[in-house]
């Protein structure tokens, strides 16, 4: 490829074609675009790092990723959360090669430079003899992210100090993410990440997974086998509990975020859920009515899946999961990480039921998502050929059916639609065409923020 910025800008107009609602296959398979994404998407956007329940005590750390790069999330002695690049400032060795733990210090295994929990360089072997005491340690602390945010227990960061702040960047997406992060009874926050993070490699492009959770009510056929078998939390056929009479919606939001969910049409009574355990069923019913009280009219909006751009994808309710879709070194290689959330104060019976349900639904051994991985893998693979890559993907579904709705932030398509997905690529193209955030903002202003 190796094209100039002007040529790239022109190509992106064709590749992500607003008029035709098509997206070229190259953006999923091209290695140069993949490399450029590392700089223009992952080094620039707000990324999810982990859940604060993973580092509850001072000295706790969790090793996470931002794009391809390893980062350490720590809680220092003052209780403040930091995120650092996991690479020694001296010769680049990873200073931490454990997944998580508690430590007073990160000591590099190569030459022994040591860093405190706030990232400052505190130990340099032979400081007097080798450096003649001339090294200015204060300039050589671990690289720290430019901005950090804690939203209802989730920790986020960006490397770009010019990026819009977290609230601005997420905007109305937070309205929908609350259904992931608030208590089932509608009290703010209060979730915890259950022990362990599932991590697995999938030979596909990260965007293929992102667009699926950005709003794909269309792929029921993918999961026909599990629907026939039945894995829901109340036994019987299907994958989930029913939600009564609802209208499915897709919401396309600013900055490439997208959400899908269901809107209750009226003041619906509780539809039985979590029926395979009596305590859990009673709890679910109690939470349903409490949520109505706490949320008011907003309780009619029941979140399903979503994707906060670029690669934070999630299921709000059944199952309740966070996925980070990390790029893993080449266009057709991703490393997926998955967290499982529960209300910290839920009865043990609920936690057990939802954990088992989540394990049989989700992740690489999940009976639903096994089939997703297969489809994303082979769709990407079959898109790589010369002839294949001449044919764009079609995102026309619902393109003339976008509307505003008083209860739902974003541009809404009811029923099935692919405008969320297209919106994700439209923002992606704006980022990829821009040299910095100023240019991204100018581009959005001239075009309008939603496609």
């Amino acid at each position: 490829m190796a094209m100039s910025d002007a040529a790239l800008e022109q190509a992106l107009e064709r590749w992500v074609d607003h008029g035709r609602r098509t997206v070229t296959r190259s953006i999923f398979v091209d290695e140069e675009l993949y490399q450029l994404e590392q700089e223009r998407v992952f080094a620039r956007c707000w990324l999810f790092i982990g859940h604060e329940s993973q580092i509850s005590k001072p000295g706790d750390y969790f090793v996470s990723r931002m794009g391809e790069e390893s980062v350490i999330m720590t809680r220092d002695r003052q209780g403040e959360v930091h995120v650092f690049l996991n690479s020694c400032m001296h010769r680049g060795m990873r200073v931490c090669r454990y997944d998580e733990g508690n430590t007073p210090i990160f000591s590099c295994p190569y030459h022994g430079w040591s860093y405190a929990l706030d990232g400052s360089l505190v130990g340099v072997p032979y400081f007097k003899e080798a450096y003649r005491s001339e090294l200015n340690k204060s300039e050589w602390g671990l690289v720290e992210v430019a901005q950090i945010a804690n939203y209802k227990g989730t920790i986020w960061a960006t490397w770009d100090k010019a990026a819009p702040n977290f609230q601005e960047y997420m905007g109305h997406m937070l309205f929908y993410m609350d259904d992931l992060l608030d208590g089932r009874d509608g009290t703010p926050g209060g979730s915890e990440a259950y022990g362990g993070v599932q991590k697995w490699i999938t030979p596909t492009n990260w965007k293929s997974a992102a667009e699926n959770r950005a709003g794909d009510f269309y792929h029921g056929i993918s999961h026909r086998s599990v629907d026939l078998v039945g894995i829901g939390p109340s036994a019987g056929k299907g994958r989930r509990d029913g939600q009564g009479e609802t209208l499915s919606f897709n919401s396309l939001l600013d900055y490439g975020h997208a959400m899908m969910g269901s809107l209750q049409l009226g003041d619906a009574p509780w539809t039985p859920a979590l029926q395979s355990n009596k305590v859990a069923a009673e709890w679910a019913e109690h939470c349903y009515y409490e949520r109505k009280k706490n949320y008011g009219n907003r309780a009619r909006v029941l979140g399903s899946g979503g994707n906060a751009f670029p690669n934070f994808s999630f299921w709000c309710r059944q199952p309740r999961r966070i996925f980070m879709l990390h790029p893993a070194g080449e266009a057709l290689k991703s490393e997926f990480w998955s967290w499982f959330l529960v209300d910290a104060n839920a009865p043990q019976e609920v936690k057990d039921l939802m954990r088992h349900y989540s394990l049989r639904y989700s992740g690489p051994a999940g009976m639903t998502e096994q089939d997703d991985m297969e489809n994303w893998n082979h769709a990407a693979k079959a898109s790589r050929g010369v002839i294949a890559s001449r044919q764009p993907y079609n995102y026309q579904m619902g393109m003339h059916s976008m509307e505003d709705h008083p209860d739902l932030p974003g541009k809404i398509v009811f029923g099935m639609g692919e405008q969320n997905q297209f919106g994700m690529y439209a923002f992606w193209a704006d980022l990829m065409a821009s040299r910095d955030w100023d240019e991204v903002m100018a581009r959005r202003q001239s075009r309008g923020s939603l496609p």
Partner: protein, 178 residues
């Protein structure tokens, strides 16, 4: 060696052989896709547990594996869900196993750890190969800790712990039981 010792050693060998043959038989049922016969080898109260493996500091190895019935694991379930996995394969529309993968379980290093008569704890290693569609190949290598129980004259699997020797799962999915 006294005659008594010889007899007891011989009995242990015969027992070892019997257990080993059961493990080979079980693997062959799976690999030959005799899936419903395989399900019949599961005790009604079977537990199948496959933890995630963490990288932890030396001396903290009790935290290396996620805990059964408590944390996020790869698999942590009983017979209903295990049978459901098999039913899913048998729908013919489970795309991650359609067309069916070619699976070969190789079981080795079999050790009877404790023999309680009608229940036996047995350890082994596995090298399981999955090849699907054209050239897609995964290798799953690890250790297993099984408890077998004699039920109405046949061995059944009462418990299986699968310790896959991987931190990040190198395969896109786990459509198979190891």
């Amino acid at each position: 060696m006294t005659t008594e010792q010889q007899q007891s050693a011989m009995a242990a060998m015969v027992r070892h052989h019997e257990i080993e043959q059961f493990l080979y038989y079980e693997a062959s049922l799976y690999d030959e896709r005799r899936f419903l016969e395989w399900v019949d080898l599961l005790a009604d109260d079977v537990r199948y547990f496959m933890p995630l493996i963490r990288n932890v500091k030396f001396g903290e190895h009790e935290r290396e594996e996620t805990r059964e019935m408590e944390e996020l694991n790869w698999i942590d379930e009983g017979k209903d869900t295990l049978a459901g996995r098999i039913q899913q394969i048998l729908t013919g529309v489970h795309w991650a196993e359609e067309p069916l993968s070619r699976i070969v379980h190789s079981i080795s290093n079999v050790q009877v750890v404790e023999d309680r008569g009608d229940e036996v704890d047995v350890k082994c290693n596995f090298v399981t190969y999955r090849n699907r569609v054209e050239t897609e190949t995964d290798l799953f290598v690890g250790r297993r800790e099984d408890t077998l129980r004699m039920v109405d004259g046949s061995w059944k699997i009462a418990r299986r712990k699968v310790i896959l020797a991987q931190n990040v799962l190198m395969a896109k999915n786990l459509t198979l039981l190891l």
